[in-house]
Amino acid sequence: MSTIEKRRCAGFDLDVQSVRDLNGALHAAVEPGVWEVINPKGRHALAVGLTLAHEVRIVGHAGYYCAGMNQLAKVVVEGNAGTGVAENMMSGKVHVMGNASQSAGATAHGGLLVIDGDASARCGISMKGINVVVKGSVGHMSAFMGQSGTLVVCGDAGDALGDSLYEAKLFVRGKVASLGADCVEKEMRAEHLVLLTRLLQEAGSGAKPEEFRRYGSARKLYHFHSDHVASY
């Protein structure tokens, strides 16, 4: 799809039109378009379930589950995003220019989520392949039960980072308040720096890869064992 074909712009004013109007139009479109949404005012489920490479600009703050289950589309929130932004995203890109609330990128399988500000608790919970780059800090229990994918935190991480982690890769530049059960610091190898460099670049962050530390699963909780009973 060339850029020229995508230039079909449409504007939505959510003070006048409903969220259903917006999502209905986005779903009914037969080819990708460029869309602008004004007056979101924290409304929920904006631009959810997209399947085409739309470009959606949300001017203002979004409520819960903005860009949920996104496929291929690029969604930009020029404000803060509520709970579960880009939850279960499969592909595409979601960019939050402000802060994100809890469970950002929860269970997402793919695509890139960039948060310019901070993300609160449980960022990347049960992540399954998504790449998340947070330019600020993340709250407690981030990457809880993270299965795969990458969480990059340019600021600090709250308590219990990576609790019960599976194979997700975590990179933190600042302080980590505490590591969760079975999460340990790991050696930063060349391939990790390559991955980190690419993600920082894609996210438009100027942070230097060598300033980050890597965390991952110790894999000690992969099988039930009474010796680990205190960790369950």
Binding site: K41, H61, G63, N80, G82, S101
Partner: protein, 293 residues
């Protein structure tokens, strides 16, 4: 399970506009709590030696003049099924006197500035019924309720008064309130509903009675209250916010030079003046936030 909102003016010039800004905040939270709604407004202080009562009786035709006369009030203001009056500080505790003489009347709040009103119905209905839009004051907290385990009644609505000029609203669900209620009853606290929030309110009142500061009382609640909660607390001259350490229930704060506001969702803050330039953040788990002036 509910929506909660709070608005606290740092700039006293905004006081005439309190209801105008606060009413839409409450109405927007209807989807989180359609069963009942309530609020506490903090307005001008009562005369020295007097204090304000907010009283409730389900019957609109209830004869309030006898109560007012009995308590020595100079008149009263009837607002739907509530009545507001200023009474002189009596020799004995007024609340006990109320309980003995007019057990059919519920005391919603007592204090020098606080007035609590709450009722069944959607937030829109409650806002209209009590004329919230025209109210003035320095701060207000409010609640819209989706009843979980206790009954949908006026008494089970929030806010719950926790003593003179203090009240509490709650979003979440406590998991140890039954045993805690028994323990507090043993300490002399009185409860009127099966509601978990009333226990949290009673707990705070008990801690305050022990001489703890509001901040310390809230800190202590982190140890003694189990379950999920976001609390907003109104006090004589300020308000406070606390989330439990797991912090699943949402809360968002906005602060400008003129005000501090909190809500379960940003939607409720969206129409506040200058909110687009406000500092927006989510309260950290297990951290007590408080403002006063």
């Amino acid at each position: 399970m509910c929506g909660i909102v709070g608005l606290f003016f740092k700039n006293s010039e905004m006081e005439p506009e309190l209801g105008h800004h606060f009413a839409p905040m409450l109405e927007t939270m209807c989807s989180r709590g359609p069963d009942s709604a309530g609020f506490a407004v903090y307005d001008q202080e009562s005369r020295e030696g007097w204090f304000k009562l907010s009283l409730y009786h389900p019957e609109l035709g209830y004869e309030w003049s006898k109560v007012a006369e009995g308590l020595g009030a100079v008149g009263f203001e009837k607002v739907a099924n509530h009545v507001l009056m200023e009474v002189p500080e009596p020799d004995g505790p007024v609340l006990q006197q109320m309980q003995l003489r007019w057990p059919e009347v519920t005391v919603m709040s007592a204090g020098r500035r606080i007035q609590i009103m709450k009722d069944m119905g959607t937030p829109q209905e409650v806002v209209e019924r009590f004329g919230v839009r025209g109210m003035r004051g320095s701060h207000a907290i409010g609640h819209t309720r989706m009843a979980t385990e206790s009954a949908v009644t006026t008494a089970g609505s929030h806010p719950f008064s926790t003593g003179m000029d203090v009240c509490l609203v709650h979003n979440g669900s406590l998991s140890n309130h039954n045993r805690l209620r028994l323990n507090l009853e043993r300490e002399g606290m009185v409860f009127h509903t099966e509601n978990d929030t009333e226990v949290a309110a009673g707990y705070l009142a008990w801690r305050l009675k022990q001489g703890k500061s509001l901040h310390d009382a809230l800190e202590a609640s982190l140890q003694d209250l189990d379950g999920f909660y976001t609390f907003a607390v109104g006090t004589h001259d300020g308000f406070a916010v606390l989330r439990d350490p797991v912090a699943c229930k949402p809360a968002v704060m906005a602060e400008t030079e003129d005000y501090v506001a909190m809500a379960s969702e940003y939607r409720s803050l969206a129409e506040l003046p200058g909110v687009e330039k406000a500092r927006l953040w989510e309260p950290e788990p297990g951290v007590v936030y408080s403002w006063s002036r």
